[in-house]
């Protein structure tokens, strides 16, 4: 039977972000998949080099609207690694609180969208309504619903007022009963079981081979979490559990995310209640020449930043590696062999974030020479020289 190709995207109603999938199908079964990205590339690494270390955090925040804490978290850690310094305790706690708030809202967002993909629009509406509560919390804490602008190299920009804490804790507590109901609804629903169990399986071996990160790997039984492996912020001072499940199908990925929300609530509350007194910012003035790396556990996995400083007030090089970059290739094992109708939810199951991933443009020139602006100017000048020489003009 001849194989057919199904293009999805780049502007598809199912996706918020532009990306282009080519599914090669044989009847109902997907036999090959290809992903094309680049519709979101904005040259952030280069933009970051134009700005001072302090200003860069705002651009870094806008790499991704959902992970607008993880990226600055990793970046500021990279910058602090150059000097090196330890940020004040209070700043560490505040950073942790914001990061966990982000994880809650990101996981809920994904849960809602997953419900939408499966045709459970009620779930979508419910979860997003619940998510508003946590956005309110973030608004109280940081002044913004998203793009919190809390981070800076050496500390945080804004303190958490002690009079806000009771209200915030009340708000966080208020989402737990609804979340319990949601969890029960998901766990007890026979249709969801039938729909999600046993599809898109990422085995433990594959998860390790592909270097999958975050909930994608934890659902496959790989206990990998930067917060536990190399604790940063206040994660080593709070009690919390890493959620790891066994089989690695889509259902487990849902479970991991739902249970992680509970853990995040726990971390957030503990941090808020035990917020130490003291400074929130080191007021770093100069960054010496050197290199630094920083990582943070984003809702989707480990975010990694590399910063090189040459002693000026701007980064000389800034490299970003987002978790989706590692998780995307797992499609090659999870989607192939499944039916087209399952492909959407499997593609969504890694919680892909393309605007995080699109960091670079690799061009395969296949031996052809490509002229850049500078080359063209050089060629033009050379030609003038050539003509001058021919005419005997010095």
């Amino acid at each position: 039977m001849p194989k057919s190709v199904i293009p999805i995207g780049p502007y598809h109603p199912l996706q918020e972000e532009p990306e282009f999938f080519t599914l090669t199908v044989d009847g109902e079964t997907v036999v090959d998949i290809d992903v094309q990205v680049g519709y979101n590339h904005r040259g952030i690494e280069k933009l970051s080099e134009r700005r001072t270390f302090d200003q860069s955090t705002f651009v870094i925040e806008r790499i991704c609207g959902i992970c607008s804490t993880s990226h600055p978290f990793a970046y500021t850690r990279a910058v602090e690694d150059i000097i090196p310094v330890e940020v004040p305790e209070r700043a560490k706690y505040i950073r942790t609180i914001i990061a966990e708030g982000e994880r809650i809202h990101s996981h809920l967002l994904w849960l809602g969208l997953a419900g939408h993909f499966l045709g459970y629009n009620t779930l979508y509406m419910w979860v997003w309504k619940l998510r508003e509560e946590i956005l309110d919390v973030m608004e109280i804490l940081s002044g913004n619903r998203n793009n919190y602008a809390m981070f800076k190299p050496g500390g945080v920009r804004r303190d958490i007022k002690s009079e806000d804490i009771p209200l915030v804790i009340k708000k966080i507590d208020s989402i737990v009963p609804t979340l319990d109901r949601l969890k029960k609804a998901i766990l007890d629903d026979p249709v969801l079981h039938a729909r999600l169990k046993g599809i898109g399986i990422l085995t433990r071996e594959d998860a390790i081979d592909y270097g999958a990160l975050g909930p994608t790997s934890r659902a496959s039984g790989v206990a990998k979490d930067v917060r536990k492996d190399a604790p940063y912020g206040a994660y080593d001072k709070v009690e919390w559990d890493m959620i790891v499940t066994e089989t690695g199908d889509v259902f487990e990925k849902v479970i991991v995310r739902v249970l992680e929300v509970y853990e995040s609530i726990k971390i957030m509350k503990t941090c808020l209640l035990n917020l130490p007194e003291g400074e929130i910012d080191l007021n770093i003035k100069d960054i010496p020449p050197g290199e630094g790396i920083g990582s943070a556990e984003a809702p989707r996995g480990e975010t990694f930043h590399y910063v090189r400083s040459d002693g000026t007030n701007r980064p000389a090089r800034h490299k970003v590696r987002a978790p989706t970059f590692m998780n995307l290739p797992t499609f090659k094992v999870t989607v192939i062999g499944e039916t087209i109708s399952d492909a959407t939810i499997i593609l969504a199951a890694i919680d892909p974030c393309y605007c995080c991933t699109e960091r670079m443009a690799v061009r395969n020139t296949k031996g052809k020479k490509i002229y850049h602006g500078q080359d063209l100017i050089r060629l033009s000048q050379e030609k003038t020289e050539h003509i001058k020489r021919k005419m005997g003009i010095k």
Binding site: Y11, E16, F58, C355
Partner: protein
């Protein structure tokens, strides 16, 4: 007012296009559809295809790859089609104004009818913007 435009205002269907955004604006648009803001009470619905849509919501700082597609999409849209630029990125490219990959602001590529500033604009702002656009076309503003 042209009849086509008048008919459109009762229940404008929107198509959302991200031309290289950071996702936040897109999420805030989706947020408008969810219970707290519920933009559907003004008859607005997310359309699955531009060919069914009356309003084009554009977010993001049109990069080189998506600018071509944006133009093509706009050409495919049944006219009259209102274009709303959402977020600082699509208004002026915001932080990405110096980027090598974002050569032009949105309104130099396609005509824009309304601008909703913010990074990202709050859902309330998007609601207010949408209503203002309708009022303006009705001639009340």
């Amino acid at each position: 007012m042209k009849l086509t435009l008048k008919a459109l205002l009762k229940s404008p269907w929107v198509f959302h296009l991200s031309t290289g955004s950071c996702n936040n604006c897109d999420i805030e648009i989706l947020d408008c559809l969810t219970p707290r803001f519920d933009i559907e009470r003004f008859g607005m619905l997310l359309a699955p295809s531009i060919k069914h849509a009356d309003v084009l919501l554009v977010t993001g700082s049109c990069n080189r790859k998506s600018a071509i597609r944006l133009k093509r999409l706009y050409e495919q849209a049944p006219k009259p089609c209102l274009v709303v630029a959402i977020g600082e990125c699509s208004l002026s490219r915001g932080m990405f104004i110096h980027s090598y990959n974002c050569p032009l602001p949105l309104d130099k590529i396609i005509p824009v009818d309304a601008y909703i500033p913010g990074c990202p604009p709050k859902p309330e702002a998007i609601l207010a913007g949408a209503l203002k656009l309708i009022q303006k076309i009705k001639g009340n503003l």
